[in-house]
Symmetry: C2
Subunit: 244 residues, 2 copies
Amino acid sequence: MSNKPTLHTSLSPTLLHLYDVSNSIVVIIDVLRATSTIATALYNGAKSVIPVDSVSRCMEIGRQIEAVTAGERDGKIAEGLEYGNSPFEYPREFIEGKTLVLTTTNGTRLLHMALDKGAKEIITGSFPNLSAVCDHLVEMKRNVILGCAAWKDRVNIEDTLFAGGIINRIRDHFSINCDSSQMAEVMYEKGKKDLFGFLKKNDASHYHRLMGFGLEKDLRYCLSEDEANILPVYNDGKLVIKQP
Amino acid sequence: MSNKPTLHTSLSPTLLHLYDVSNSIVVIIDVLRATSTIATALYNGAKSVIPVDSVSRCMEIGRQIEAVTAGERDGKIAEGLEYGNSPFEYPREFIEGKTLVLTTTNGTRLLHMALDKGAKEIITGSFPNLSAVCDHLVEMKRNVILGCAAWKDRVNIEDTLFAGGIINRIRDHFSINCDSSQMAEVMYEKGKKDLFGFLKKNDASHYHRLMGFGLEKDLRYCLSEDEANILPVYNDGKLVIKQP
């Protein structure tokens, strides 16, 4: 019992400093839609995904290297970029062998915070790669922080649900003394039979936001387990598939 | 619909700055045990409760005015103070007509944060005064922030449950676009039949902490609704009963 590694959940980037990042694997969670799209692009053969925090930085890298530039603002492709945030924009026939430079705000900022605090390893998680994340965490036997990207630092339901989904599967392998983790699992247990319906019923702010953009298909995909079951790991500025 | 006041839940003091404090009533929530004890002492006739953030400040005020000084560290009465944090230490025959100076860390810090940010009104909430809080919020028709005191900034289950209990009763009177509030209500709905059992089952960190100190009776009382159903309001450094 006592020699199990610990697991904590940080429900917002603002809370990350409360946890011992430098001794942990940090899982970056931005379910709608950044980390779902990252998993999907890599699963479909992208060489790497470079997460950046601004449109201008995205364009700059796009000029420096041959890469697909992508990002949205207010539900539309950002001016100066080529593609959006939808996982459906990155099928194998398009993205295979290419580098994707993706601008996201919440997820990228959290990733850089984890990096600055010296995380042992940074990976990204989403329902489409839930099993790969769980298998890796169990195998590594290290302390884990589930880092929810949230929305402008406000806690959100979908990232919490995903943290709960991980905990629900791997809790026996960890020592969990963390109310946020317990809450996340309660939420997941309550919602797991129909995650889409759960977001709808509980008026999740991103449910409304994405439905308002006509993105029900994206929402449903981003809540589906193991559709793109690879493990993205951050290394030297890039997310690549972790080789077993 | 659109002219209803808003309601948000801040799950940790670290998140309070995300909300529009200066236009809101802030409810300070520190269920185990500060705000439960505050409600109880006032219900039993205390003239006022002065919340302070340190043992030294508590002793200092105790020397300046005739007051009962109280506070704990690690489950024991802090050195230099007279009484502890248990609501059972403040029956009417003892506390009536007296001023209680109470040192608490999490709750007092949050209260001062809300004060610094210019909250319209600051009240304290706990299960023993749940109905008084709800009635007041409905009556005031103002924006509300439910401020969980948490534990050293880490989100905790019991404060979240109480926020959920408020929302569960008064949601129709407010416009709620806040995932934290939705999550709090899901938690409350799940736990409301047996809050004590819910904390136990979900390994709440404060459940273990207080049970370890032999304080099951405190725990059960602090989870009981309307046992001390008055409304503490903060005014000029003191919490007093709000007169209707």
